[in-house]
Symmetry: C2
Subunit: 431 residues, 2 copies
């Protein structure tokens, strides 16, 4: 695994390429995706069917075949291995408890002049979750997207997932049953995003679309943003690790590889003050790599996008990591908590040697849908508020408007909006 | 003003056109805007200068001329009329107090097995506010965009605003001084959005862009979404009013007109159970219209997009209003508070006859940047969280991973991610 030092003469350009790690080609596929969306808007189910025939290689005989029945979900749930069902339940319970703690409350506040101000929080009516199919059909993605919507109080949660050759993923269906998903449609890719954003004869328009996907799905989400809300535009997975000399090289190595096995485009970055640790970790990575089921993917990712950075001190390590703003950040130091005040940008922060990142993917409770490619500088993990929205509440008394009406009307006058001013003054005159 | 009744045979199609009120032509200008963005990305300041020359009709001699000095802002603040300065201060104070109540707190929680879970809330590093220039240069927009960023704790707040003929709006500068804006750039339109999203030699890249603008600005915000975060994509302003027989027709009329005077594309919609009130309000609208400074704009808006809907009962009124999901909703009924539980979708809710909508535009405290065109179904008013983001915090003890590690690894195995499973099991084996 490549090791660089902040003292290297070419460090700056090396670091620039780490910062640019996630440039995706949304623009390159925009035209294709935009056409797909237009087709769905224009011909609804007919377009869906032809896209399924083309991409998923099966024929939709009638509209109802787009839908998976509640009964099939229930059967899938009942048929899975008991240990696995228990594990799903453990994950479900922990994710639910964590997200319940995120629930914002409506509030209201009063002033002595009779003014009442507040904020009402309401769930959206309908949420649409996109869950990739085929090799990336992860039931954990379903839990992580459905549970925040469920906790937010969304009445109707629908799922779109591609079913190549009309084969459904039983474990995904089991998870849908567990989460009380209303409807699952066998529709994938950009077509699915368009169908949920604009509606078709069978699929009702939703208010919010969340969930992972390839570049076509990500581009479609961006294009429909505004017609519906979306969570974020996600790129390849990544991990950053901050370590000092107390860290165990074999833990660091397998944690770096747990990201690398996701995707050849995944980035695994270790920043450490300890050059010896850097060397040992690199050796451990090589040892583990040879034994991995997904060796080819992980090796390509580590070779092309993996890097160990050796720094002069922890301050420098943290500064670089804040610039990187990784999706996952492990802190493997003697006292990881003391670094929390200085960590500004990261999707999820994993503290201490007993908190490997995969714990957060499945069972810890916080969401595993996290901002990638440095977008942790401005995006949050998926959370209940993605499925809720606020309304301001304003009520003025006679007393309040007599006191605040004139400065308000003055500001309106200044902006040339005289009907605004009049609407206030007509109340003042009435007294 | 047009009056329709839910019992009319063509009501459904009339109502459909109300729901479709805000279809903007983002797609139609995407190509032009995309080219503008490309130019800024490729040639930075040089492109900015040529766009200013073309659209704002003045020549930028040197890079520093893009920037308005702190001293100019201070002078503008000192030079404005005292009453106006006091009104600005009143607005500033009230907006600040309201937004402080929105501030989310970081939290942390503990389990008996040693698990620690939490959520860290952090402001973004840099916020970019877009404030339109020319006839729509509203200092209130500056307050409403800058104060939430200020309250969120954003260190650097920059503003871009066009200055046609190199003329600056003194009141806007005064408001910038009041809010402690770091930098104001004389740059407008899609170029400004691109400059803030990607950076140029003079303008540093920001993390979040908010603020109103025309179709080119809205389209640019959509195109840079993902590179930075944005608030929402806003369309023309609109008001919905729910009224019963207790409402005063002349209040309703001037409130409808206060939206109509904004923009020929603005929508003013009254829904009432009282046909007599509908007729009287329509007459009052005509009376006021003839006396308005902005009569031409308001008249076109009222004639083409204004409507009064007469319903059979309040339940029906509310149901229609929830479908419309208006930006501003006034509730002019005997006891407006009792309707709050049923109002699901609205940007801001104004309760009672002493709460005309313009109160919320300037002085009440809540933000006046609100979701339009039905997007209140999924967007919130601009708020401090637009300038903040969250990081999950996860720390497992030895005890916690021994208990939860195996179900976690089982789920990873099931998804074929064996390095994930290994990263957990290597910890279990170490004990």
């Amino acid at each position: 695994m490549k090791i660089i030092n902040t003292k290297d003469t070419n460090f700056k350009s090396e670091f620039e390429s780490i910062l640019a790690r996630a440039k995706s080609d949304i623009k390159g596929v925009s035209k294709i995706v935009s056409n797909i969306i237009d087709e769905i808007v224009e011909s609804g189910n007919e377009a869906l069917k032809s896209h399924i025939e083309k991409f998923d290689k099966w024929t939709v005989a009638k509209d109802e075949d787009l839908l998976i029945s509640q009964n099939d979900m229930k059967k899938a749930y009942e048929n899975i291995d008991e240990n696995l069902r228990n594990a799903l339940h453990t994950a479900y319970d922990r994710i639910k408890v964590y997200h319940e703690k995120q629930l914002p409350k409506s509030w209201i506040d009063f002033e002595e002049n009779g003014t009442i101000l507040g904020q009402k929080v309401t769930p959206v009516d309908r949420a649409g979750l996109y869950i990739p199919g085929g090799k990336a059909a992860y039931p954990s993605s379903l839990l992580m997207n459905a549970i925040p919507a469920l906790v937010a109080g969304v009445k109707e949660i629908v799922v779109c997932t591609p079913t190549p050759n009309n084969e459904v993923n039983e474990l995904l269906l089991a998870a849908c049953h567990l989460c009380g998903v209303s409807k699952v449609y066998k529709v994938g890719g950009a077509s699915a995003i368009a169908a949920m954003a604009y509606g078709t004869q069978t699929i009702q328009k939703v208010d919010v679309i969340t969930g992972p996907g390839n570049i076509f799905v990500a581009t479609a989400k961006k294009l429909v943003f505004g017609e519906v809300n979306i969570d974020m535009i996600a790129g390849p997975s990544e991990i950053g690790i901050l370590a000092d000399e107390s860290a165990k090289p074999h833990y660091l190595a397998i944690d770096l590889l747990s990201q690398a096995e996701h995707d050849e485009m995944a980035s695994s970055i270790l920043i450490t003050t300890d050059e010896d640790l850097a060397n040992k970790t690199s050796i451990e990575v090589e040892n583990y790599l040879a034994k991995l089921e997904r060796e080819a993917i992980a090796r390509k990712s580590i070779e092309e996008r993996g890097v160990i950075i050796v720094t002069s001190n922890m301050e420098e390590s943290i500064e670089l990591m804040n610039e990187i703003a990784p999706e996952h950040l492990e802190v493997m130091t003697k006292n990881p908590f003391e670094l929390l005040p200085y960590i500004k940008h990261a999707g999820a922060i994993f503290l201490g040697e007993n908190t490997p990142e995969p714990i957060g993917d499945y069972i810890a409770g916080p969401n595993h849908t996290l901002p990638t490619g440095g977008t942790a500088k401005f995006y949050s993990p998926l959370n209940v508020e993605n499925f809720m929205k606020k309304s301001s509440i304003i009520s003025f008394s006679k007393n309040a408007i007599s006191k605040l009406g004139e400065p308000c009307a003055l500001l309106a006058d200044t902006e040339g909006l005289t009907a605004h001013a009049k609407s206030v003054r007509v109340r003042l005159e009435d007294k």
